[in-house]
């Protein structure tokens, strides 16, 4: 089972194309506020992440995902099943 520490670098790689040049992604980076993603881009990011990790992130859980860390922990939880 993939741990949070193994998920994080893959998550950074997946998010990288959605950041502005030179932007340094951190665990505490806020996905909407700091990356400036609109609702359409958020859905694109999620689709990419879901396919990469072969998971489906329930819409019910989205309000609790604010930072990269929140997203990483959600992926870890879903991978555990």
């Amino acid at each position: 089972m993939m741990s949070y520490s193994a998920i994080l670098p893959q998550l950074f790689d997946t998010l990288k194309p959605f950041t502005k040049p030179g932007f340094q992604l951190k665990e505490q980076t806020e996905l909407v506020a700091e990356l400036g993603l609109d609702s359409l881009q958020v859905m694109q990011v999620l689709l990419k992440i879901e396919d990469h990790f072969d998971i489906s992130i329930p819409l019910n859980n989205l309000p609790n995902i604010r930072t990269v860390k929140d997203l990483g922990e959600e992926i870890e939880k879903l991978l555990k099943g």
Binding site: D38, S39, L40, L47, D54, I55, S56, P58, L59, N60
Partner: protein, 409 residues
């Protein structure tokens, strides 16, 4: 910081709209003349944004039935069916819609919105999963939330993505409800239902089809996409509304599963609301009879739809995916969409302005809904009004945006 501060961004957006002299989301119909004409801003206007697909809102049979019910049964029911009891006419309406679908079980709700809330929230609760199409109507999202099931969205009309998500659920796919729409309200495209049924069977899931925009429109008898596709027996439940093709208000769910009847005892949007008023029930029963006996209405609707689609395509507009009564012209940005919408209204044509976040893929749309009651002359006028704009008068669509015959997909 007060509770009301959250409305400030909405106030600013509204003020921006008002600067343009119109508010497309607060139009007043000063006088309704017929299913296809009204007075708006003191001007006689052709309505092509009403979802009045079969033009039945002024049908004499329906009006007579409503008037009789009003006189005999009164103006309202003053309460819910569970508390106050059902009127015989509520049960007769349920039998009429069940018979129309050839299904043994039907439940009527006070609105189409509540039909989705009532059926979805009752069918899938905590521990269950709902897979919804990404372009689903707000009532589907709200119904899913109300039930407390886990909600997963799949890519619009993408059966590969749907199957992928069913596979990821493992054994939980047996407790999964798939929700799709017969015709999607924004672009007018249809669910690939035959393929969805195959996937549903493979994973043992349950399938519900919302035929709100396809009832009276698709299928040999007007029962919707499931009939048109020949998969009615494989669809577990159908929900729909009386407020579009049937020219009334209210909603319904039908099913072949006997347990469906028990939803009455668990569905809060059914239990805790006033039941439909007698005149509405009577007019709906009348229009259900009309759509079964007058298939020519559907033929008119399709002739009008083909003519408008062809006319707008020839004028250079990029339209929704396929010919049908919902014809959405795509416009590159919000400002242009608003200007064009306003110009159409000034020329006596009312369409729906649809902008993000209510639209798929952030599209700006001038959405037309065609009616069987539109005359050939009215359709020509609508095409001419659109064509005026595409040829660059006050507004202009640059050649980069005009790809004749192009479709969304």
């Amino acid at each position: 910081m007060s509770l009301f501060d959250k409305f400030l961004p909405i106030q600013e957006a509204r003020n921006e709209l008002l600067k343009s002299g119109v508010n497309p989301f607060h139009v007043t119909v000063e006088k309704i003349i017929s299913p296809t004409e009204a007075i708006i801003n003191g001007r006689k206007t052709i309505l092509v944004g009403t979802n009045n697909y079969l033009g039945l809102t002024f049908h004499p049979d329906s009006i007579t039935a409503a008037q009789q019910a009003l006189a005999q049964e009164g103006t309202g029911t003053t309460g819910s069916r569970m508390a106050n009891g059902s009127f015989a006419s509520h049960k007769a309406l349920e039998k009429a819609i069940a018979d129309f679908y050839g299904a043994p079980y039907a439940i009527v709700f006070s609105t189409g919105y509540q039909a989705n809330l009532g059926v979805l929230s009752a069918l899938a609760g905590p521990g269950d999963t709902i897979l919804i199409d990404g372009d689903s109507h707000a009532s589907i999202y709200d119904g899913c939330r109300l039930g407390g099931a886990e909600i997963i969205r799949f890519k619009h009309n993408n059966v590969v993505d749907l199957e992928k998500r069913l596979r990821r659920l493992g054994d939980r796919s047996y407790r999964t409800l798939i929700v799709v729409e017969g015709i999607y309200s924004m672009l007018g495209d249809r669910a690939p239902l035959a393929e969805i049924v195959e996937v549903k069977k493979k994973y043992g899931a349950t399938l519900i089809v919302d035929e709100a925009h396809s009832l009276g429109v698709l299928g040999q008898h007007g029962r919707g996409l499931a009939e048109e596709t020949g998969v009615e027996q494989d669809v577990d439940c159908i929900v729909g509304t009386f407020s579009k093709s049937l020219g009334s208000t209210g909603g319904f769910g039908i099913s072949f599963h006997p347990e469906f009847e028990l939803i009455r005892y668990t569905s809060r949007p059914y239990i805790f609301t006033a039941s439909p008023c007698p005149s509405v029930v009577a007019s709906t029963r009348a229009t259900i009879r009309i759509i079964q006996t007058q298939p020519e209405l559907r033929q008119h609707l399709w002739t009008n739809s083909r003519n408008l689609y062809e006319g707008l395509t020839k004028s250079g507009y990029i339209l929704g995916a396929e010919v049908g009564p919902i014809i959405a012209a795509m416009v590159p940005n919000k400002e242009l969409a608003l200007t064009m919408w306003q110009q159409l209204l000034e020329n006596g044509i009312y369409v729906n302005l649809m902008i993000p976040p209510a639209t798929p893929n952030g599209e700006c749309l001038l959405r037309c809904s065609v009616s069987a009651a539109h005359t050939h002359k009215q359709i020509e006028k609508i095409i001419a009004a659109f064509a005026d704009m595409s040829h660059g008068t006050q507004t202009h669509i640059s050649p980069a945006h005009v790809q004749p015959g192009a479709t969304l997909n």
